[in-house]
Symmetry: D2
Subunit: 338 residues, 4 copies
């Protein structure tokens, strides 16, 4: 933490700030400069609300120095995290495909999709039983019935299930059915939900909030990890900017900084990120090249008849073509598609 | 809905689109133009996922025309909504102050604040028992104990209570204690929570999401109203932009369009919107001038010792000065402070 | 400047950073903390490109402390700047209206507008002879002929002229014709143009860039002032965000921080800021209440026939109604409309 | 163009709109729907300012349908554009590297860099003689002397030169020295400059504005092309968003839509896009995978001593490592590095 004084701050004002810092059980380090004094602070800053220093007379600015996350950060935990599942392992060196329809529409289409994916070596299927929809009048998912379908198809085909949890009420049921519990964009800072999945025995796929900074995203991961669940997978799915050339702005540039600051694996969702199936393959390849650990992809047996998000879903043929391209690229990048 | 064809789309491609529209039980209106054909669509469009038209060959773009909200929009409900409470009424013509500390810290400070506010004619007090904090290590609020304190102070002083609900688990308790249930920014699209408060017997103050468009915000209100609770108050509290001159970018410019599109009252929170107490009074006055129906203000008996958000809280003296200014401005604007 | 070391940085890495700082003729102040070392830097930091410190081994982050502007900032120049013109003075205590059509269309409409404005006590008229248009096929302004019209109407009516300069080629002509030289949004960081108007004998109205931070905006003012022209008026005209409820997002929240950091006057352009004439009056009143020093307003004798931006122009009747409202508000705010 | 009427618009209001459309020499196509009437418009819409329709009574919204660009768009010019230079050709199938220091610092370092690049098969060198700097106190480039250095090194080594033009005053000199004229981010909508390079005999590399939509970017290209210069290369260099994990937000997601809407080649600048040399290689590889036609890269013989942007410059060794990775990836993507 650094307190920057105004250039015309008086000695008395500086003394008040020094005293306030000491009253917080912290150590001030005054640095008189040519035009102004800055005051470094050391000690356990996380425990106090230091913003109050900002409004003391003569203070120009307060600059936070230490990152607020401990468990999610690489500083305290340098080695990469590998999320180990019965079906596969997610983390550096591999590139994990999680594919499937936006929502569980009926058992037949889920089974067909699972069999198709298993036939292509895909270990994890995504499909939503609970669907967050911006309109209350849109299809909201099959709910518990959808979870039952997923459970049956899982038993039949052996594919792992990634499915979204929207509220604490359905937490037990989703935890039971899922191999990975998905937390959606709009719930990235639903702290009650984060606390609940912090107690879950299943890994959590945490989508980045629509306008979340990397730090806020890692703090959301910290909420889950602080509850004891260290198996968190970050998922970039496009952010909200001024840009209107695609549904969201898929931010692949977050991958290198995320890898630098955190040891958690990160996957990319180019389907929601672009909103248009034509744009999915180039962004999927770019995600692999940029260093992501996998993809979340919408694939549907008949995209033009999908209950939701058909426009951004790949057909089976589209998925096969993309898979070929990914495999060609994986070798030179020293990665293994799984 | 309007389908815009590419300039070199063939007749056959246009026919495929016309058939697809008819298959959705909608009526196509082709309009051949100089460079391209556009196809208007009429009928009950809300029931189908028309984005699939976008990926048909020859289609350039799909343009949605009708607004998706019905209950929250002014088109179906032209008259302004007035939210009637035991203590006061919120809506055009008046300007309602909702003031108080960020969080319930203890009974003494809540009581002192309530008495101060009542003494100045303020009818509603804000204070959080449940606090959404971006760090799991920050003070999370007193929880149910905080609600008890609010209930006791409400009985003693007669002040109405505005307090946040963060999850469905605590919905009954908050609904019991509050005169207005607050839904926070980070939960604006927590659809399970919106459905729950749609069943509540208390009005809902719905904060705008950090990067929510006006349409998304009104769709969140629509979720609440679709459940049967028509008493929704919108609250602008700053959005997330590139700007870094204040904590958030307080978007007063949303007030006139919100008033145009919706009949719901709208209040402004300049405390969170700016994050700095010096900036609160000018933004509060500007909100009144821009046509808002009230303010949500952080006031604390001793802001520099607040458990949270002290830097943006007004002291009692600061609040009194602002109240004077608001009163001077209210007359010429034909509004009554309450 | 503050260098934050990684928590596991070695002593040797810290020494390399200390040496690098000394090699820049600056003084390092190491502050060993519980988890990491931070190094404060004092000295004339503005002269060196300190970003290279950021890539030294063991460095986590580089944090700039001092603001880069000197002339535009309030720290070196505490008193408010008043821009004195033959016709009026712009600065705190007054509220200056600058009104007129988007572009000079012909002499008749300019003369009619000038007479209308003079009749209502307005001292400054805006009108563009050179128009920056996003399409090369749109009306680009009358150019030098437009300047001649403005000069004639200025002589006839005595109204001061505010008009845009788009390039150095026309700088002499615009400087001659204008009382205030306007620099448009898209040219806020056209540094060649800023240097040119830094040599002009006329005040400069500097519009904020579409995505300029307050600091970048003040640095653009610094460019002008560094050339010797201290008469700079800031103009907020809406920024680019994700919001789509109006043409731009008019950022009134920048006014208090701009007033805090800088001594320069600031005016607001609600016409471009909102893009819709219905939204102009509430935003104009809010600008006054928020502490702006004036307005830039589009007014047109027949807005629905305007060559450009008619949708956001007030009619004469619309302007008169707004003027009445502004006058009613100015008294309680201790401001004088001029 | 589509005019959407309010649901309660009267027949008389609709008639007024129909007449207004006909008065613009356009053809209205009314489409009465269940809740409202929409009116399609065909004809030469580009010639009229149709925004005035938006403010007629009963009109809810005006929706533009046709894209405003003609020359830059793929609709009128389906085949990809290849920009042919003496040294190489830029366009699909190849992947062109344009590398070099941020600014021309002296002849030695330019010559060293050119020889290094030529030795690795690179055909084009970037280096700025005129530097747009956000502070007037920063190094502003060597100016004409810098151009002379570039010209001499070009003759000696045969490398092509890409260098920035900041104003019309220096247009002749830059046009003479450069193989490609660079237009910087801050000048993307400097229309006077765009018109000038529209007359130039050299190709133009047009950087995307800091908050430019794809449409605005293509309209800027349209300005250049409308002047007769069809050799425009788009350059994505990061946009301004709320994100703070890197200097800008490098928007690779714009590549597929740019390729879809336009026939112009597009290159990516990961150096400015990320601002940090560690992040450059993954983003460079991702740009190749996403379908870009080349890169603009900062390379410096001694990055830590660079006059500007050293933190984002690759060393020679860093460049060689990246080149190896790019070559390994180019094959599977059916591209040839040049």
């Amino acid at each position: 933490m650094l307190v920057v004084m105004q250039s015309h701050a008086t000695e008395a004002q500086i003394d008040v700030v020094l005293d306030a810092i000491r009253a917080m059980q912290l150590t001030p380090h005054p640095m008189p400069g040519a035009t102004r004094t800055a005051i470094g602070i050391t000690g356990n800053i996380g425990m106090v609300d230091s913003r109050t220093l900002e409004v003391l007379p003569g203070v120009m600015e307060l600059i936070r120095v230490t990152k607020p996350f401990k468990l999610a950060g690489r500083e305290m935990h340098e080695a990469d995290t590998f999320v180990r599942l019965p079906e596969t392992t997610i983390g550096p060196g591999t590139f994990t495909l999680i594919a499937g329809p936006c929502s569980v529409e009926n058992e037949t289409m889920i089974e067909r999709t699972a069999e198709f994916l298993v036939g292509h070596g895909v270990k994890l299927m995504r499909a939503g039983a609970f669907k967050p929809r911006s309109s209350p009048y849109s299809f909201q998912g099959l709910g518990l019935e959808g979870l039952d379908i997923l459970a049956r198809v899982r038993r039949k085909t052996g594919i792992g299930i990634v499915t979204e949890l929207m509220d604490t009420d359905n937490a037990d049921a989703v935890e039971e059915a899922a191999d990975i519990i998905q937390i959606g964009t709009r719930n990235m800072q639903n702290f009650s939900l984060l606390k609940r999945v912090g107690k879950a025995r299943k890994p959590v796929l945490l989508k980045r909030g629509m306008s979340a900074t990397l730090e806020e995203w890692l703090m959301a991961a910290e909420y889950v990890m602080a509850g004891g669940n260290y198996n968190v997978i970050l998922c970039e799915r496009g952010v909200r900017t001024f840009s209107d050339h695609s549904r969201n702005t898929l931010d692949l540039s977050v991958i290198p900084p995320a890898k630098k600051l955190s040891h958690l694996p990160i996957v990319v969702d180019p389907s929601h990120g672009t909103g248009k199936r034509d744009y999915v393959p180039p962004m999927a390849l770019a995600a692999l090249a940029a260093g992501a650990d996998g993809l979340l992809l919408e694939v549907h047996p008949d995209p033009d008849k999908a209950h939701s998000d058909g426009a951004q879903s790949l057909s089976f043929a589209g998925f096969e073509a993309l898979l070929e391209s990914l495999k060609r690229l994986a070798g030179p990048l020293e990665r293994r598609i799984n």
